[in-house]
């Protein structure tokens, strides 16, 4: 599926971005070494880095837009597309790999109908993979937002996701393509 690389923030998010930058102008001096912390701060608040946010950071730091976009795209942490309410991150580290995380991921992808990096059409989930969460002793590991789940198997993972999905009444499976 072809997608534009960078997304704009929807209309209703405009005031949020203004608030954010008012705060950031106070917190940061605009030095070049603050670039990554500023990107992190923006993403933490907005869930992803919309084009406007990166351009604004370029203005504050007086760096070229190319430098800001170039740096942001270098790091795996930054996203340029909006994310679902729940970010499901599946560990693809070595310990998790030998304990079958590829099959776990396959199952989750099949259940949510989205591939890593993609948001489900109902806006509820985004699947991501991560190199390692550092909880390898409990492999395989999955993180949903900030909660870490270890020693997973397929049925437990699906149960967790199912519970979340069922707690939202409206967008049900039926609305999916």
């Amino acid at each position: 599926m072809e997608q534009a690389i960078y997304a704009e923030l929807p209309e209703e998010g405009r005031s949020e971005i203004e608030d954010l930058f008012n705060e950031m102008r106070k917190e940061f001096k605009g030095r070049p070494e603050e670039l990554i912390p500023m990107l992190q701060r923006a993403q933490r608040r907005l869930g992803f880095l919309p084009e406007q946010a990166m351009l604004e950071i370029a203005r504050i730091t007086r760096l070229s837009a190319a430098r800001v976009f170039g740096t942001a795209t270098f790091y795996a942490q930054f996203r340029f597309q909006p994310v679902g309410k729940y970010i499901v991150r599946v560990c693809r580290g070595t310990a998790c790999h030998v304990k079958g995380s590829d099959r776990l991921l396959e199952t989750i992808v099949g259940y949510l109908h989205a591939v890593p990096g993609q948001m489900t059409p109902d806006g509820l989930f985004t699947i991501e993979t991560v190199a390692c969460f550092g909880s390898c002793a409990l492999a395989p590991v999955m993180v949903i937002n900030d909660s870490v789940y270890g020693s997973l198997n397929r049925s437990r993972a699906l149960k967790l996701l199912g519970e979340i999905r069922n707690s939202f009444p409206l967008p049900k499976l039926a609305s999916l393509p």
Partner: protein
């Protein structure tokens, strides 16, 4: 406040805790403890004490090392030892507390061990557990024993005594002490730490920096996270000692953003250090001043490499540059910079407290001291371990780790992550030291140790690592950027059953080119997983290429599942697990798999309790 007063107060409070007249409960609350359900156990403990009308204290501690038992709770009655319980649920935790605290029955049937004054009937001593016995805990000396968010605990156990001693010595003497201890960098390369400090100390420049490398990018490693979560001050003290020896007043901790709890504990630790006069202009009343900044990484493995790390701190793309000039001469913003790994620094504080000679008493001639490992993968007892250098691999895997889970056969162990290699089981007599592991084609690495069994495919493993390094290559060097991709493509073909015998020659050739033609360690070591598997597991490559077979049952086009009619008793569990309805059969009669429908997801294989489903 004077440090001796701070220490006195810390010791007094620690003593009060040790002689507490009420029950004391410890819950392991590292990231993995929490992942396993420690929060619930903590809440239950609190509630149960209240319910029994008991005053008592509950402490959050770091990892004691037996990660496979998480969540873990230790309970101490006044005057008694700590009794440890593992794999807890909220319900079990409550039952234990009621039984022990009310009826004085410590439930030996549920207990794992005790720590402290014993003996306790029917419960083994912590130090005698097969997992713990071969270990020597230096870097991890406080992990799982103290509250990492309370600086007084650290100080009461001798913490910052090493710094106090260092400040009474000349900086040169401090560097020499580390040199004499034989400590080598624990971040992977094993460069002598004292020597590195001397270079940075001698380098001309007014502004100098020390950086703690907490990027821990090796997928499958968690020693540094556990150490920072369990005992942040041991690392911070080491950093201060290093700064004093080098003559610098500013330091950075570069830590990966995937470790939020470690970051939080560091932030708490820094605030407490400031309150105790351990940061700022005049540390412990001396003329030495120091400040520390925390920098969060943003998810790039290559940023663990020194020059890339510094480029990242400076706010750019984390791309390595060629060395020399070495960071010790020209590092962060062009100034002399010393970079040390988390574990290296935790050893530094221990060495300054107990002396170089004591430290050098552990380990082998060229590899002194101990090394922590994150023991994971297909091993019975996963954990955070620390062993004296020179210990044999089999002691780690078979004794500490208890061998491979589920009675399967152990095949290999992987050390050093994407930069390391796979060592086959018949070489498990190998001693763990820098030179021996390198000679076997692997590396010591930072401490990831992933055990593999007969169901791990040794062609899939290098393929997995290459997919990682190809993704993480920063793209600066052509051999690394294209070579990792080409090796990956070839390995993908082999795993799909499209490999040819010539592929093996090309793999060898490309791997040598990438090794020789890359600028940084990422590229130079990326071929190691390929080379070691070619060296030790050539027959598996051949089976994939010539017989189109993956005996481990990993590469989907090269195997299928079959149900053995002799063993199958028709319980039907497998068919309930199959999402594509590929399994048919009447109840109580042997089932069978329709191969055309089967997606080889493996769900039935995992579910069958009678091992009736075979990899063919």
């Amino acid at each position: 406040m004077d440090f001796s007063l701070i220490r006195e107060r810390a010791e007094k409070n620690w003593k009060a805790l040790e002689t507490l007249k009420q029950p004391l409960i410890q819950v392991g609350m590292g990231t993995c403890g929490k992942a396993a359900g420690a929060d619930e156990v903590y809440a239950t403990a609190k509630q149960t004490l209240k319910q029994m009308n008991l005053l008592g204290r509950i402490l959050q501690v770091g990892c004691i090392g037996t990660c496979y038992l998480e969540p873990i709770m230790a309970v101490r009655k006044p005057g008694g030892p700590f009794i440890y319980y593992g794999n807890l649920t909220a319900k079990r935790a409550e039952e234990i507390l009621l039984s022990y605290l009310k009826n004085d029955n410590p439930r030996p049937d549920w207990a794992v061990c005790f720590r402290g004054e014993g003996p306790v009937d029917g419960i083994p001593r912590f130090e005698d557990l097969p997992m713990i016995k071969p270990q020597v805990r230096i870097a991890l000396r406080n992990c799982g024993i103290i509250d990492p968010e309370n600086i007084e605990h650290y100080i009461a156990r001798g913490g910052y005594g090493g710094l106090a001693r260092a400040l009474r010595m000349d900086p040169e003497e401090v560097a020499r002490e580390i040199k004499d201890s034989g400590l080598r960098g624990r971040g992977g390369a094993g460069f002598p730490t004292g020597m590195k400090w001397e270079f940075a100390r001698k380098a001309p420049g007014r502004m100098k920096y020390i950086i703690c490398n907490a990027d821990e990018g090796d997928p499958g490693a968690f020693m540094d996270r556990s150490l920072l979560e369990g005992d942040p001050h041991s690392v911070l003290e080491g950093m201060l000692i290093g700064a004093y020896a080098i003559g610098c007043n500013e330091g950075y901790i570069y830590i990966r953003a995937e470790y939020p709890l470690a970051i939080k504990r560091l932030e708490t630790a820094l605030i407490q250090m400031e309150e105790c006069g351990l940061l700022g202009r005049s540390i412990l009343g001396s003329r030495f001043g120091f400040e520390i900044h925390i920098k969060e990484g943003a998810g790039a493995f290559v940023c663990g490499e020194e020059t890339a790390l510094m480029a990242s701190i400076a706010g750019g793309r984390g791309m390595p540059c060629s060395r020399p000039p070495f960071p010790a001469v020209k590092g962060l913003w062009g100034n002399p910079t010393n970079i040390n790994n988390v574990e290296t620094l935790a050893n530094v504080s221990a060495i300054l407290t107990k002396g170089a000679k004591w430290f050098a008493g552990f380990g082998t001639e060229k590899s002194k001291g101990t090394k922590t490992f994150a023991l994971a993968g297909k091993v019975e007892r996963t954990g955070l371990i620390e062993v004296p250098m020179g210990i044999r691999l089999k002691e780690i895997i078979l004794e500490i780790g208890g061998g491979v889970a589920k009675g399967k056969k152990v095949k290999a162990v992987q050390t050093g992550g994407p930069s390391g290699g796979c060592i086959p089981a018949d070489l498990f007599d190998l001693p763990v030291d820098y030179e021996s592991l390198t000679a076997a084609g692997s590396i010591m690495g930072s401490g990831g140790m992933v055990v593999m069994d007969e169901e791990t495919c040794m062609v899939d493993i290098p393929r997995y690592f290459l997919s990682f390094t190809a993704e993480e290559s920063c793209g600066k060097c052509i051999p690394c950027r294209l070579g990792t991709r080409q090796m990956l493509d070839i390995l993908n073909e082999i795993c799909e059953g499209k490999g040819t015998p010539e592929d093996l020659d090309i793999l060898k050739e490309v791997s040598e080119t990438v090794q020789k033609g890359s600028l940084c360690g990422l590229g130079q070591t990326a071929p190691n997983p390929v080379q070691t598997t070619l060296r030790y597991f050539l027959t598996e490559y051949e089976a994939h290429i010539l017989r189109k077979r993956c005996e481990a049952g990993v590469c989907k086009p090269l195997f299928h599942y079959e149900i053995d009619p002799e063993t199958c008793n028709g319980c039907g569990v497998c068919s309930t697990k199959c999402s594509v309805e590929a399994i048919t059969g009447e109840k109580k009669k042997p089932h069978s798999i329709e191969q055309e429908k089967c997606t080889k997801c493996g769900a039935c294989y995992e579910a069958c309790k009678f091992q009736a489903i075979r990899i063919c």
